[in-house]
Each structure stands twice: as structure tokens, then as C-alpha cells.
């Protein structure tokens, strides 16, 4: 269970089932090692949970996968392609979408515009075709609008498409952010604490939403979450990080019983 000695390079899973392979990823900030030689494989269609105490390096790992932070060492493979060090928009082009721990919506813009922006990599119209309103550009614009409206309906915000994102309640902002990420038509969706700040009812609704979206869109999901019941309930497999190290990896029941996990969460005193 616990990662034994670092596996040799060849041991990286390149099977057809592997969508994202995280291989020996390392990153430190100043003297603090935020992520230390972490390796795991996310399989196609899987719901993969990433848990761990505050400061365990979960969000840093997300930032590395999406190109916002460069790793010091290690490689990332997505669909067999080495995506290490690609800039964020290149990563997004390949079908990796994410939400943010602190919600990063385009606050001044309407909910619809927020989602339409994320159609960027799935649309083609250039500057002049768009400005001149040529036929294909106009059709694409209409399709973009319809697609975005459908996604707002999917997350239950259909009737609020013209409201500015910053006026939404926190839980609604999180759902809007999910709709925006889905507009990218990702294969891999990274959700960074989607249930943070939600009450129990909202959390239940959210986990239903994640479940249904995943089934409908055949998504692979990588999920960071603090709310352990939600993770245990949703995820097929879970990786546990503590102080930047991968301390456990397995199905929920295994992970829950793992002594290192119990210690990390509850401390030595138990």
C-alpha cells in the first residue's frame, strides 16, 4: 500500500486504461517540499479521490497537472503523451479542465458568458470572421450559446444565465464553475474541493450532480475533497497525501483502514 522504494521508470503504467500518469512528481517552495516524488495512475472513466490534511500538497499537485506550476522533477503523461511543462492553455486544449479551490469565476461577467468563454478551445472563429459575422462564425456563435445554456441547465442554473457571476451564492458559484469546466468538453475533470462551504443538503445535491455528470459525459474525475464521507461515497480509488508524500492508495475501504492514514488524520495520540 504505502509507496515502496521509488519504482523504476519503466514501471509507469502505459496501458490503454491509463488516462493520466503522474510519475515521480516533485515540487518545493522555498525550503518546503510541497509534493515529494508522488506517483499514481488515473484510469479512464475512474473517479479518483485525492485527500489529505491541509498543506498536504493536493492543490499544488493540481496546479502541476494543469500547467500552472512547473514540477522540479518527474513527468506527466496524458493519453500516452508527455505533457510535463506545457503551459496551462495547452493543457486545457488537450481536454483537461479544472475548478479552483477559491472559485475563480469571471466575476463581472454573466453566468452564460462565463461558460461561453470556456468553449474557446472547442471553437475556431478567428478575429475577422467573428467581427464580420460571417456565416460559419455566426453559426458557431449560436451553437456556443446553446451549448453554454444547456450546461447551465445541467447544473441547475438555467434561469440565472444573465446574472453576474459575482452575485451568485457560494454554492452556486461552485456549480457555475463546474459548468464552465464542462464547457471545455474535458476527458479529465479536476475538481478542487467542490463541496467547500456547502451545507449538508447542498453537499448531497453536489455529489448527485457529480455522479450524473460523470455518467452522462463519460468523464474521468480527479477530486480533491476534505469532506471524507463525500469522497468515500463517490470515489473508486483514493490517494492520500501527507506533507507532500503519498502515504496510501487504494479503494475507499482499504484507505480508511490504513494505519498511516489514521495517523495522518488523527495524530499519534490515537
Amino acid at each position: 500500500m504505502s509507496p515502496a522504494a521509488a519504482p523504476p521508470r519503466d514501471s509507469v503504467d502505459r496501458s490503454a486504461a491509463a488516462l493520466l500518469v503522474v510519475e515521480q512528481i516533485k515540487r518545493s517552495f522555498g525550503g518546503v517540499t510541497a509534493v515529494n516524488r508522488v506517483s499514481f495512475t488515473v484510469n479512464r472513466g475512474e473517479m479518483f479521490g485525492l485527500i489529505g490534511p491541509n498543506g498536504a500538497g493536493k492543490t499544488t499537485l493540481f496546479n502541476i497537472v494543469t500547467g500552472l506550476t512547473a514540477p522540479e522533477a518527474g513527468r506527466l503523461h496524458y493519453r500516452g503523451e508527455d505533457i510535463t511543462g506545457l503551459s496551462p492553455h495547452r493543457v486545457a486544449e488537450r481536454g483537461i479542465a479544472r475548478t479552483f479551490q477559491n472559485v475563480r469565476l469571471f466575476g463581472e461577467l454573466t453566468a452564460l458568458d462565463n461558460v461561453m468563454i470556456a468553449r474557446h478551445v472547442r471553437t475556431r472563429s478567428g478575429l475577422f470572421a467573428g467581427v464580420l459575422g460571417l456565416g460559419p462564425a455566426r453559426r458557431e456563435e449560436r451553437a456556443t450559446r446553446e451549448h453554454a445554456a444547456a450546461l447551465l441547465a445541467l447544473v441547475g442554473l438555467a434561469d440565472r444565465s444573465d446574472e453576474r457571476a459575482r452575485n451568485f451564492a457560494y454554492g452556486d458559484q461552485r456549480r457555475l464553475e463546474i459548468a464552465r469546466a464542462l464547457a471545455l468538453e474535458p476527458d479529465l475533470l479536476l475538481l478542487d474541493e467542490p463541496a467547500a462551504g456547502m451545507n449538508t443538503g447542498e453537499k448531497r445535491a453536489l455529489s448527485e450532480l457529480i455522479r450524473s455528470v460523470r455518467a452522462r459525459l463519460h468523464l474521468t474525475i480527479l477530486l480533491i475533497e476534505h469532506h471524507v464521507p463525500l469522497v468515500m461515497d463517490l470515489c473508486d480509488r483514493i490517494a492520500v497525501l501527507n506533507f507532500g508524500e503519498l502515504i496510501a492508495l487504494g479503494v475507499p475501504a482499504q484507505v480508511q483502514a490504513h494505519p498511516a492514514v489514521v495517523e495522518a488524520y488523527l495524530g499519534d495520540s490515537v
Binding site: 475563480r104 469565476l105 469571471f106 463581472e108 461561453m116 474557446h120 467573428g130 467581427v131 456563435e141 464547457a183
Partner: protein, 312 residues
């Protein structure tokens, strides 16, 4: 009416050109980039037109052909665009106030270069730039369509894929990149579009003003453009256009009020000469109470809704 146009022909065309220049500051700002470089491209465009029309084309006496003015505007636009890409690529790596400072430096450098070259006429500049019209008001035949086309371009842009990418960068560059928007490409695109437009306006202005020297397109112009955009509005193209039109007319309007008479001498004097103080006050008040300017998308939506309901 005829006397009105006789008296105010110069002012009306100046207002329209100011509105187009305000749009050149607005374009990079759409992508969240405070660049005040467009006066430099405006100056460059003016020199290109001045040099071409006085030293290269050797026009026959009489009115200068409008087609040559259009050609000069095209040349100025292309040259500015190329320089725009060259300057934009390194400059737009800078963020926020550093980009503003770098573009101020660019404006200063171009001014110093113009002041010291022979081809630009040094400190005296280039004068006697040939006139395509017998009346300054007639410049409206070029300035008017230029403003309308620019407004159409920027207004349409706001509703397209490219425009949305720019606005996304303004709102949150990191989130925009994570959604697949290429930040560098779009920033340089907006910067270059601004340079192209500023160059074209400069070329037209050189004829309109009749002389061109290093006092055109300086940092003072940058400040004026910022006032147009900050007071008019920085979240929709309508803001800069109205800002440019109104604030260019304002000093004349104030002078008109001062001439009515019956007011204390100091007040009349202030209205006549206090243009910079009034601009400064407006910017200060504006940024405190209307951080996005007077004309905002929300205001336009409200007006649009009222318009529609009153039609019913």
C-alpha cells in the same frame, strides 16, 4: 447652422478623432492590459503621412488627392502593426503598472527619436502638410467613417470568441488560461489592433493639423486618453467613445459658459483656463465613485430594456 459648423468644424473633427484614439487605449484594456503606447503609434502614423505627402508623393498644386491620404493611412496602419507586434511581444510579459511604465518609456523614446532625426524635421517638425479638403470640417468625411468602423469593429468584437477571450484575461488571467485561452497571443493581438488603429488616426491627423512635430503623441496624449476611458467607461466600447467626444468638447463648452457673463471674474477665469484641473478632478471623482466609468454594460442593459418596453 452654417455658422455653427464654420466655428466648430475643427472641434467636431477633433472630437471624432479623440474618440477613435480613446478606442486605441480601450483595446488592450479589454484584455486587462493598461498600455499607454498608442500615442507613440499615433505619432508614428503622423510622421509617415507627413513624410510621404511632403517628400515622397510630390502632389500637384491644388487639393491633395484623398486616395493618397487613404494610402498613407494604410501604410501607417501596417507599419504600426508590425512595430506593435515587435514591441508587444516583449512588453506584454510585464504586468499591471510595469506594462504602463514600459509603454510610457516607449512613447518617450519615440518622441526623442523624432526630435533628433533629420527626416522628421527635428524640433521644428514637418509643416505645410498638403490639404485634401478646402474646409477642415470636410475631414469629417474620413474621420466619421473611421470612427463608425472602429466602433463597429470593437462593438462586434465584444460579442465574439476572440473578444470573450480578451475579457476573460482581464477578469482572471489564470482562470482564462486554464480554460484554454492563450494569454500572450490575445494580449499581443489586442495591442497590435490598437497600434494599427492609432497609426491610421495619426496619418489622418497629420493632414488635419497641417503640421507634425514631436509635441504630437506625447505622454500628455496618454493622460488625455486615460481620462477619456476612465471617465467614459472601461467596460464597454461606448464609454471611451463618449468620453473622447465629450471631454474634447468640454473645454469649449466651459469657455462658452464663461462667456455668458454675470459670474465672478475668478470663476469665469477658472472655466476658461482650468481645463487640466477639471480633468484631474473628474478623474479623481470618477475613480472613487465610478470605478468602471460613467457608461457601464449594466447601464446600457438598463437603457436597452427601457427602450424595448417603451416601444411595446
Amino acid at each position: 447652422m452654417a455658422t455653427f459648423f464654420d466655428t466648430y468644424g475643427f472641434l467636431l473633427v477633433s472630437m471624432v478623432l479623440a474618440a477613435v484614439l480613446a478606442l486605441t487605449l480601450y483595446l488592450p484594456l479589454m484584455a486587462g492590459q493598461l498600455s499607454v503606447a498608442s500615442p507613440a503609434f499615433y505619432a508614428l502614423g503622423g510622421y509617415i503621412a507627413a513624410i510621404l505627402s511632403t517628400k515622397v508623393f510630390h502632389p500637384a498644386p491644388g487639393l491633395y488627392p484623398v486616395s493618397l491620404v487613404l494610402l498613407e493611412m494604410a501604410v501607417a496602419a501596417v507599419v504600426s502593426g508590425v512595430l506593435g507586434v515587435a514591441v508587444g511581444l516583449p512588453a506584454l510579459r510585464l504586468r499591471g503598472i510595469f506594462l504602463a511604465l514600459a509603454t510610457i518609456a516607449f512613447v518617450q523614446i519615440l518622441g526623442v527619436v523624432a526630435l533628433n532625426l533629420d527626416v522628421t524635421g527635428g524640433a521644428i517638425g514637418i509643416f505645410g502638410i498638403p490639404q485634401p479638403f478646402s474646409d477642415q470640417l470636410h475631414y469629417m468625411w474620413l474621420a466619421g467613417p473611421l470612427l463608425l468602423l472602429s466602433m463597429l469593429f470593437v462593438g462586434r468584437l465584444e460579442r465574439t470568441r476572440t473578444g470573450r477571450a480578451l475579457v476573460a484575461l482581464r477578469e482572471d488571467e489564470l482562470a482564462a488560461a486554464a480554460m484554454g485561452v492563450n494569454p500572450t497571443y490575445h494580449k499581443v493581438l489586442a495591442f497590435t489592433a490598437s497600434a494599427v488603429l492609432a497609426g491610421a488616426v495619426g496619418a489622418l491627423s497629420a493632414h488635419f493639423i497641417n503640421t507634425w512635430n514631436s509635441r504630437q503623441g506625447t505622454f500628455d496624449t496618454s493622460v488625455n486618453l486615460m481620462a477619456f476611458v476612465l471617465i467614459g467607461g472601461s467596460r464597454t466600447f461606448v464609454g471611451p467613445v463618449l468620453g473622447g467626444l465629450v471631454l474634447t468638447a468640454l473645454p469649449e463648452a466651459l469657455r462658452g459658459i464663461a462667456d455668458i457673463g454675470g459670474m465672478p471674474v475668478w470663476l469665469a477665469g477658472f472655466l476658461r483656463e482650468g481645463r487640466l484641473i477639471i480633468f484631474g478632478l473628474l478623474i479623481a471623482i470618477g475613480t472613487v465613485f465610478f470605478p468602471h466609468g460613467l457608461i457601464t454594460p449594466a447601464l446600457l442593459r438598463r437603457l436597452g430594456r427601457r427602450g424595448r418596453t417603451s416601444l411595446r
